[in-house]
Structure formats: structure tokens, C-alpha cells
């Protein structure tokens, strides 16, 4: 027997890979249909995309689009919620709908042998929803309860506090996409119907079907089921929203959580939109800073210091500039040193050029995992939905790997200097302020605001906004300190 082999093997020859080719057709009513054949994948994924998301809804109805998506399966002209669910389950299918900032999607996953019947149910759900009063009332109560639950969850609290800190109150991104207590309380079937119908124009909708489509004529099938649709009267395109910053200087906001054994930390600011020319350089830069396991942030905070289970950083890419944040949850005692280290890595990303090894590692990772990401239909369909949502060219995914390959050390540094701005970052913490407040002030990382609150009432009979603490709906006086 041989001993342990010391020599690291060299890679073989990569098998050629391209993002699966897709065919785009347009029905007579304007609906775009994309069919993507993925051989051997018999669980089909289909998504109908409406290009109006939560960002475009009126502020007084914040949360309507997300709830409208949930309500689609709560009743249609032919089925009540239970009948629709049961019909779907009999096919071994799952029917779902969800909305984000930029789009609403309704979809179904189903074994290929029952694709036609499943698309029929998708068309019924998306084409003839009735938004029944009683079910909408239940969804509204569930969202209000969910907002209560969010207050008890440090991760959700810190994400929501972070968005509310970096975006001005004029931006929809200031609030959660699902809305706050005061707006959710007023949502009714009319508001949901209006939110849904804003996006209901076949000329701006896309149906994407992916999987093993041998012998299936997707355009013909779609024409039968979706070809008779016409635009709703309320339909209107939606522009990318305002994404103004609330801050012009470093600020530290602490949400006090007495007795917390960890502090959730977010450090960042408004980032960038998806559709920008230096997307690929920023991707490589963010991968080195906080994307890989061996990213600068994780190596420092986890593998060197043991402060956290994991630290990373990312840009949330939307139609308008979304948040950029570095993240970690650290044991309470090391809160301030962890912040100092995170700021140090953000600064170093701008000041010190990455090494050739770092550049190669990040590029090779992004290029190499690309085929792994698209092993099954769901992510392929999701990536195509992203192309449509962000008005990207059809060859965007084909060009991805060569574009990443072309990124240089200079490109990475330019991206860091332009998009990582620690001097204007918000530092948002959810943790036990009593344990680190003095040390935090002494560290001089920025002006410190500490928010302490009583427990919110959990009684359903409370006035609608009684539960609005500094996170869900900061009193205006608090917000003035932040602006």
C-alpha cells in the first residue's frame, strides 16, 4: 500500500458548459414565453412573472403587493382555496406565488407528465383570483402577528433596523417589503386587487418554463391557457424607486436587547442597482471581501479571532440601489473589537490591492460554481426571471463567465473605492447595550444612538400602531436624530 499521497492533484479538462439555451416567443396578446429545455430534468419549473413589485406600490398601501401574491391561492373564480390546493396536490405539484421589491411571480413545480394540468391551475390562479374578504382578513392578521414575531427575532430586527437607518423615509426600501403595522392594518381586497392589477398586462408579463420539454410545444400550450388575457385597466409600468440615503456620516444605532448573548452587527450603506456596467468587477470584489469562506471578513472574524460562526458581506441588487452590508453575529463581550475589525476590513478593501491569488480564487470560484448553480430547472428559471426583471440582454448569462474571467486587480480596486464607503456607513446593532455601550462610545467609531423599549403589547385588541416600536415604525422624533 502507498502511504498518504503528498502531491496535490491537478484538474482535468473542464467539460464545456453553457447556460441552457432558451427560446423566446411572443403570444398575440403580447405575453412573452421563454422555454428552456434541460435534458433529463422531469420535474418542470414554470414561473409567470409580473413586473410590478413592492417598490412601486403607494406608501399608504405598503405590503399590498406581497400580500396580494399570498392571496392569489386563496380563491379563484372556479376554486376556493382548499379546492385549488387539493387539485394541485393530486398532480403532485406545488403552486406558489410571491412578491419582492421588483416583481411578483406565480409558479408551479410539477412532474412533466402533468405539466398541462398544472399550467391550467397556474392560469386559473394568476388569471382569475378573487381575493376573498375573509381570507384577506386572515392574511392581514397573520402578517400583523408576523411583525410581532419579527420583533423577537434578532436577525429580522437588525435587518429591518438597518434598512430603516440607511434609506431616507421617502424611499420604499426604508420599510420592509411586507409593510409595517400601520399600513398592513388598512389592507383590504380592493388594495390587494389594485396592487396585483398594476402588473397585469400581458405585454409586460413573461412565462418561463424549464425542464425536459421533449415533445412539448410550450408556446402552443401557453397560447391556449394565457393567450386570451388582456391588460387590466389599472396596469401601468413601474419605474425604479427612489433610493436616497438617510446618512451623510458614520452613525451607530443600537437596539437594546437586554441579556442577549450575541450582538447582531450590520455595517453598510446604500449599494448599487443590478443593472450597472461594473457588475462583474463588483461581484469579484464582494466575493473577496465577504463571499468566500476564506473571504477577508470571515478569515479575520471567524478563523483568526473566533468571534463568530460566520461573517460576510453582500450587495442586495435591485432595480434601484439596494443595501450593501457586512454582517456578523458575535458574542456580546467582543462586540466593539468585532466592529473595529469589520471596519478595518472594509477600509483595507479600498486601500490595499488584492493579491493575484485572491483575484484568481474569487474568479475561479464564480466561474466554477456557475454550472453547479444550474443543475436543476428551478434555479435556471429563476436566473431567467432575473434577466427579465432587470432588463438585461438575453446573452447576459452566456457572457457571465467570460466577463468574470476578464476582471483585473485594478477593476477590483476601482469597484471597492467606488462601492465600499466605510466613512458613510451605518453601524446597526441588536444586542445588550448595557454590556458594551461605554466601550462603544470610547471606541469613537461614530455617533451612538441607543434605543431602549418596553415590550410591545401583544393583545390583538390594541390600537393598530401601539406595537410600533423603534424598529417597525420609529417615532418621528427618533428618526430626526438619524437624518
Amino acid at each position: 500500500m502507498s502511504p498518504i499521497v503528498a502531491t496535490r492533484p491537478t484538474p482535468g479538462t473542464p467539460r464545456p458548459y453553457d447556460f441552457p439555451p432558451f427560446e423566446r416567443t411572443r403570444l398575440a396578446n403580447g405575453l412573452s414565453v421563454i422555454a428552456v429545455h434541460i435534458p433529463g430534468r422531469e420535474l418542470i419549473s414554470a414561473t409567470l412573472l409580473l413586473r410590478n413589485g413592492a417598490a412601486g406600490e403607494p406608501a399608504e398601501h405598503a405590503g399590498a403587493t406581497v400580500m396580494a401574491a399570498r392571496a392569489l391561492s386563496e380563491g379563484t373564480e372556479r376554486y376556493d382555496a382548499i379546492a385549488l390546493t387539493e387539485a394541485t396536490e393530486r398532480l403532485g405539484a406545488s403552486l406558489h406565488a410571491e412578491a419582492g421589491w421588483d416583481a411578483l411571480s406565480a409558479g408551479v413545480d410539477v412532474p412533466v407528465s402533468r405539466l398541462g394540468a398544472a399550467l391550467e391551475l397556474l392560469a386559473e390562479m394568476a388569471g382569475r383570483p378573487t381575493f376573498p374578504e375573509s381570507e384577506v382578513e386572515r392574511l392581514r392578521d397573520e402578517r400583523l402577528n408576523d411583525l410581532l414575531q419579527a420583533r423577537a427575532d434578532p436577525r429580522r430586527r437588525v435587518e429591518e433596523a438597518f434598512s430603516a437607518t440607511i434609506f431616507s423615509a421617502a424611499s420604499p426600501y426604508h420599510r420592509p417589503a411586507g409593510g409595517r403595522r400601520e399600513t398592513v392594518h388598512g389592507l383590504d381586497p380592493a388594495a390587494l386587487r389594485a396592487a396585483y392589477r398594476r402588473g397585469f398586462d400581458p405585454a409586460r408579463m413573461t412565462l418561463i418554463v424549464g425542464g425536459d420539454l421533449v415533445g412539448i410545444d410550450v408556446p402552443a400550450l401557453s397560447a391556449d391557457l394565457f393567450g386570451g388575457w388582456s391588460a387590466a385597466a389599472e396596469a401601468a409600468p413601474s419605474d425604479p424607486p427612489i433610493a436616497d440615503p438617510a446618512l451623510s456620516e458614520r452613525l451607530v444605532r443600537v437596539v437594546h436587547r437586554p441579556g442577549a448573548v450575541q450582538t447582531e452587527i450590520r455595517i453598510g450603506h446604500i449599494g448599487m442597482a443590478r443593472r450597472i456596467p461594473d457588475f462583474h468587477a463588483v461581484s469579484v470584489m464582494a466575493t473577496i471581501l465577504g463571499g468566500l469562506f476564506n473571504s477577508r471578513l470571515n478569515m479575520k472574524l471567524r478563523e483568526e479571532k473566533g468571534y463568530t460562526y460566520g461573517s460576510g458581506a453582500s450587495f442586495d441588487l435591485r432595480r434601484a440601489p439596494g443595501p450593501f452590508a457586512a454582517r456578523a453575529a458575535v458574542n456580546t463581550e467582543v462586540t466593539v473589537p468585532a466592529i473595529v475589525d469589520m471596519l478595518g476590513e472594509l477600509t483595507r478593501m479600498r486601500d490595499a490591492r488584492v493579491t493575484d491569488g485572491e483575484l484568481r480564487g474569487a474568479r475561479d470560484f464564480l466561474i466554477g460554481v456557475f454550472p453547479l448553480r444550474f443543475e436543476t430547472p428551478g434555479p435556471v428559471v429563476g436566473a431567467l426571471a432575473g434577466i427579465v426583471t432587470h432588463d438585461l440582454p438575453d446573452d447576459e448569462l452566456k457572457r457571465y463567465r467570460p466577463s468574470i474571467e476578464a476582471v483585473t486587480v485594478d477593476d477590483v480596486q476601482r469597484a471597492a473605492v467606488e462601492h465600499v464607503l466605510p466613512d458613510r456607513a451605518a453601524i446597526v446593532l441588536v444586542g445588550d447595550a448595557d454590556a458594551f455601550a461605554a466601550e462603544l462610545e470610547a471606541a469613537g467609531v461614530g455617533r451612538v444612538i441607543i434605543e431602549r423599549e418596553g415590550m410591545a403589547p401583544t393583545d390583538d385588541s390594541s390600537p393598530p400602531d401601539a406595537g410600533a416600536g423603534p424598529i417597525e415604525g420609529a417615532p418621528e422624533s427618533d428618526r430626526a436624530d438619524v437624518d
Binding site: M1, S2, P3, I4, V5, A6, R8, P9, P11, G12, R15, P39, R41, E42, S73, T85, E86, E89, R90, V110, P111, S113, E142, N145, D146, L148, Q149, D153, P154, Q262, L292, N294, R302, E303, G306, Y307, T308, Y309, A329, N331, D364, F365, P371, L372, F374, T376, E441, V448, I449, E451, R452, M455, P457, T458, D459, D460, S461, G469, P470, D478
Partner: protein, 449 residues
């Protein structure tokens, strides 16, 4: 509809390493998956959490791989990887572009063969802090985060190795020494205690040659200590209840039941029962508690399979504000008891089976999942072909079988009930019922220079 068959080879190297290879060229991807027959059930008293801490140490380097370099090399090769620890096993896996398969095999072999060459006090101390932060993040600083530790502690007696949580206790983690790591490695991380599965775009003779080259020289451990008898009475024997005050806004009730061991066909029936009772919007508990009576925010019910002694069926319901906890508990239990009394309808069972079929089809599309299941069935049941037979087992479950198993499991003397309630509000004890103005007044905003 027909389920694709996973064809594989199954053999052993002279040093005892079990090797399973399944070829599939649908995507240019190859999965490597190793199960070691060691989990938290092998831990001794005073050393809880050790199997998991050890799993972290496996990423700290070996004779020819530096600290954290394992992950760096896999990621730079365009791969993904992880390791996980559970009661019955520890697994490590890489999913690679197929031309990088050999690297993953070399990395796994290097640490199986030479981990202790790179072990240091400094790396152990570092990962001990990481794991303590994992515990804080996953359990201690999470709403209802203690539920599974509490359910396990109630459902398994103190001298049973499933009694303690895989994450362990802070005290035991603090006590773990470099010598403990060495002893654990020499005992359990031997080729004859592992199954290696390779699935995807691979050339089997070439993959086998690499495995022989890299793993063939690693010595077996002929003296792996056998685990004691884990058998348990089928039924807990009493109802156990605990009330927990936590930093939560809504009360939540957790249920736990002792159930047949993983691999027992009765557990298949319980998996289908989970679908029918709480598997989605059409399920019985969801319909009654969430949709019709509107007393719960959400419901869940599922089986956690373990091979030693007994599995667990666990469930929960989050109580809506203003609803008495007792009402939710009564409604939930009533549905479970009805389930044990009456046959499910043909339509309910058919729907649960159709969803199970689609779930299996979806899961087996991915090489990573196929490799994990082959390793699992080989290690736990010496039967990797179960990957091709599980669906037929689910499809053969009858309504009578579901009722019979439910009657054995959903009994008052076989359940644990944990009730999570919001911690009493210190502000409210001073100022009576909290109303809007008091909430605002207590939102004390300090501004420091």
C-alpha cells in the same frame, strides 16, 4: 410516474472503506460524500458536543493542507462543500465541477489519513470559540431556540445517548482538550468506519483508481468500540410537560412523541401522516387551526428518524394573540387523536403520496442529495439500494396502516408538551397594562456624543 433508477457499484477497499459510485452525465458536476459512523450518540458524559467540535477541526488542516485551505481549494476549484454532525453520524461533502473530482478525493483522504499532523492547541481554541458562537446563534439567541434540546431531554432518559444535544454544553466544550481530539480521531476516523459515495459526471474506473491511490494507504482501526444497547420502551410511559418563559412575542406549543426507529416501515406511515396533518395549506391541522378557527399562526408536524431505540415525531403550533393556549393545545391533540381513531380518506392518502413522489423526484435530481442518501442507506442499513425502493415503500402504505401507527404514537402517555410563553415584561410590572403612551415613554433614546 416512473422514478429514475440510481445505478451504482458497491465495494470495499482492503482497509475496509466502503466505496459507492453512481455515474450520471446529465450535468458536468460530481459529488463526493463521506459518512463516518460517529455522531453525538458516541459521546461520553462530560464530553457533549465533541463530535461536532471535531467536525470543525476537520477543516483546520492536515499533513499537506493548511488551516482553512481545504475550503479555499474547493471553492477556488468552483466547488461547494460542508460538513454536518447529527446523532447517528458525521458527514463531509463536496460538489465539484467534474474535472475537479480528484482534488476533492485527495483532500478527504489527506484529512482521514493525517489530521493529527496539523492539530494544534491554537486551532482547537479558535474553533471552540466558533462553535460556542454557533450555539449562541442557532439556539441561545433565537426565539424558541431551546425546543429541540428540551424535547430530546424529555423523550430519551438521561443515560441514553440521544438525551443530550449535538451542539453540546458550553462547559463540556470548554473542557475539550487536544488529547480528546487525538483519541476521537484515532478511534472513529478510520476507513473501515466510513462510506464514500461518488455521484455524477465521473468515469468509474478512473474514480476507483483515485480512491485506491489516495485512501488505500490509510490504516484501518480494528478496535472501534461497539455502541451499547440503545433500545427503549416504545412508549414514553407518561405525559411530560414543561413551561418555558422566553424572549418571544407569541406563545408556542411544541409536541414530541416517541416513534419507531428510522428504517422501520412504520416510520414511512408517519411521514405520510405528517403530510396529511400538517404538510401544507390543504392539511388537517392547517385547515382547522390556521384557516378555519384562526387560533394559530402556523402549525408543523414531522418525523425525525434515528436508528437507535426510537425516533421522534415533533410538531408545533404558534398561538395567535389573545387566544388561550389551552384551546390551541386541545384542538391540535383532538386532530391527532381523531387521526388515530378514523381512517384517512383515499383522496388524502393519494395526495400525500403524489407529493412524496414529486419530493423524491426533486431531491434525486441533485447529485449532492443522491450521494448523501447512498452513504446514509449504506451506513445505517447496509443497504444503499434503499435509494431505489423508498418511494415504493411510501406508495404501499395503506390508510389502515396509517391509523394503526398513529394509534401507537399519538397517545397521551407518549407525549411531551412544551409551552413557550413570553417572559413577563419588567416594564409592565411597574405600570399595569401597557398602552400606547407608555410604550412610547419607555422607548428611551440615548444620544451620546
Amino acid at each position: 410516474m416512473p422514478q429514475p433508477v440510481v445505478r451504482f457499484t458497491d465495494e470495499r477497499l482492503p482497509n475496509g472503506l466502503r466505496l459507492i459510485i453512481a455515474e450520471d452525465h446529465a450535468a458536468p458536476v460530481a459529488a463526493v460524500n463521506i459518512w463516518y459512523d460517529v455522531g453525538s450518540k458516541h459521546e461520553e458524559a462530560g464530553k457533549t458536543g465533541f463530535a461536532h467540535l471535531f467536525e470543525h477541526v476537520m477543516f483546520q488542516g492536515s499533513a499537506h493542507v493548511k488551516k482553512a485551505e481545504h475550503i479555499a481549494l474547493v471553492q477556488a476549484a468552483g466547488g461547494t462543500m460542508n460538513g454536518t454532525t447529527w446523532l447517528d453520524r458525521t458527514n463531509y461533502y463536496e460538489t465539484m465541477p467534474s474535472h475537479q473530482l480528484e482534488l476533492a478525493l485527495w483532500l478527504e483522504a489527506d484529512r482521514m489519513g493525517s489530521l493529527l499532523d496539523a492539530l494544534s492547541q491554537e486551532n482547537l481554541d479558535n474553533q471552540r470559540e466558533v462553535v460556542k458562537n454557533e450555539k449562541r446563534w442557532s439556539y441561545d439567541n433565537r426565539p424558541y431556540g431551546s425546543w429541540n434540546e428540551k424535547l430530546f431531554a424529555h423523550l430519551y432518559p438521561p443515560d441514553h445517548p440521544y438525551h443530550h444535544p449535538t451542539i453540546g454544553s458550553m462547559e463540556d466544550l470548554d473542557a475539550a482538550s487536544v488529547e480528546d481530539v487525538g483519541g476521537f480521531f484515532r478511534t472513529y476516523y478510520a476507513p473501515n468506519n466510513a462510506v464514500l459515495s461518488i455521484v455524477g459526471d465521473v468515469d468509474p474506473p478512473q474514480a476507483r483508481a483515485w480512491v485506491e491511490r489516495y485512501f488505500g494507504g490509510i490504516a484501518a482501526n480494528p478496535a472501534i468500540p461497539p455502541l451499547g444497547d440503545l433500545s427503549l420502551p416504545a412508549v414514553l410511559g407518561e405525559e411530560r410537560r414543561e413551561t418555558v418563559h422566553d424572549k418571544v412575542e407569541l406563545p408556542r406549543i411544541y409536541w414530541g412523541f416517541r416513534a419507531p426507529a428510522f428504517g422501520d416501515e412504520r416510520l414511512d406511515a408517519l411521514d405520510l401522516a405528517g403530510h396529511i396533518l400538517a404538510g401544507g395549506r390543504g392539511s388537517r391541522l392547517h385547515r382547522r387551526l390556521v384557516r378555519d378557527e384562526r387560533i394559530a399562526q402556523d402549525v408543523a408536524l414531522f418525523a425525525l428518524g434515528f436508528v437507535g431505540g426510537a425516533s421522534i415525531v415533533a410538531g408545533w403550533a404558534t398561538v395567535r394573540p389573545g387566544v388561550p393556549v389551552e384551546r390551541v393545545e386541545a384542538a391540535f391533540m383532538e386532530e391527532l387523536e381523531r387521526f388515530a381513531d378514523e381512517l384517512v380518506s383515499d383522496d388524502e392518502l393519494a395526495r400525500a403520496k403524489a407529493l412524496t413522489e414529486a419530493d423524491e423526484l426533486g431531491a434525486l435530481q441533485r447529485v449532492e442529495e443522491r450521494a448523501d442518501r447512498l452513504s446514509m442507506y449504506a451506513m445505517l442499513f447496509d443497504d444503499p439500494d434503499l435509494i431505489n425502493r423508498m418511494l415504493a415503500r411510501y406508495l404501499s402504505v395503506t390508510a389502515e396502516r396509517v391509523r394503526e401507527v398513529a394509534a401507537q404514537v399519538f397517545r397521551p402517555d407518549n407525549r411531551v408538551v412544551l409551552t413557550y410563553l413570553p417572559e413577563p415584561d419588567p416594564a409592565a410590572t411597574v405600570s399595569k397594562p401597557v398602552d400606547e403612551s407608555e410604550t412610547a415613554a419607555s422607548a428611551d433614546t440615548e444620544v451620546a456624543a
